[in-house]
Amino acid sequence: ELKVEQNPLFLSMQEGKNYTIYCNYSTTSDRLYWYRQDPGKSLESLFVLLSNGAVKQEGRLMASLDTKARLSTLHITAAVHDLSATYFCAVTPFTGNQFYFGTGTSLTVIP
C-alpha cells in the first residue's frame, strides 16, 4: 500500500521565522500536490508538482519535488499568523488518479 508521511506532524513557529515541512512517499510517482486546510474548512489547492525538480512558489510558500528521493518539501519563509493551518501533501501513483494523502502538518504561527 502506498504510504505518504509528513513531518513534523505539529509545528509551532514564531512570526518571521523560516521552516520546512517534509513529505516522503513510498512509491514511484512524479505527481505531488500540496493542500491547505483551515479548521473546520475544506481543502484548498496550493501547488501541483508534475515532474522531477519542479519548484513552485506562491507568496511565502515554496514547494519542490525530488522524485528520485521520493521527497517533496514545503518551505515557509518569514512566517505570518495567516499561514496557520494544516498542510497536506498528496501523491498519485503512476497508475490511477486517486490521491493518497500524507498525515498532515498542523502549523501554528505565533505572533
Binding site: 475544506s42 489547492s45 498519485t92 488518479n97
Partner: protein, 113 residues
Amino acid sequence: DTAVSQTPKYLVTQMGNDKSIKCEQNLGHDTMYWYKQDSKKFLKIMFSYNNKELIINETVPNRFSPKSPDKAHLNLHINSLELGDSAVYFCASSPVGTAYGYTFGSGTRLTVV
C-alpha cells in the same frame, strides 16, 4: 456558483439509522470521489467514479454505498450507522488526468450518537 457542493453540512444521527450525503459539481469534471477524514485529520479515499462508473472501491464496509446518477452527482448512502462512522466526509472532483488536482467540497460532518 459553488464548484463542488455537499449537503448537508452537518448531520447528527443515532446509531442504526440510515443516512445519505449528496454531492454535486458544476465543473464538468469526469471523475468524482468520496474521502473520509477522521478525528486525527487523516484523509482516506473511499470511492471513485469516472463518468458514472465505479473505478475505485477501497476497503469500506458494505454499509456504505455510493450512487452516481450522472457524472455531475455522486451521493453516499450509509446503512446502519455506527459510532465509528463519525467523521468528516469530503466529496471531490477532477478532470481526466491529474494535472490540475482535485476540487473539494466543503465537507459533511457526520456525528453518530
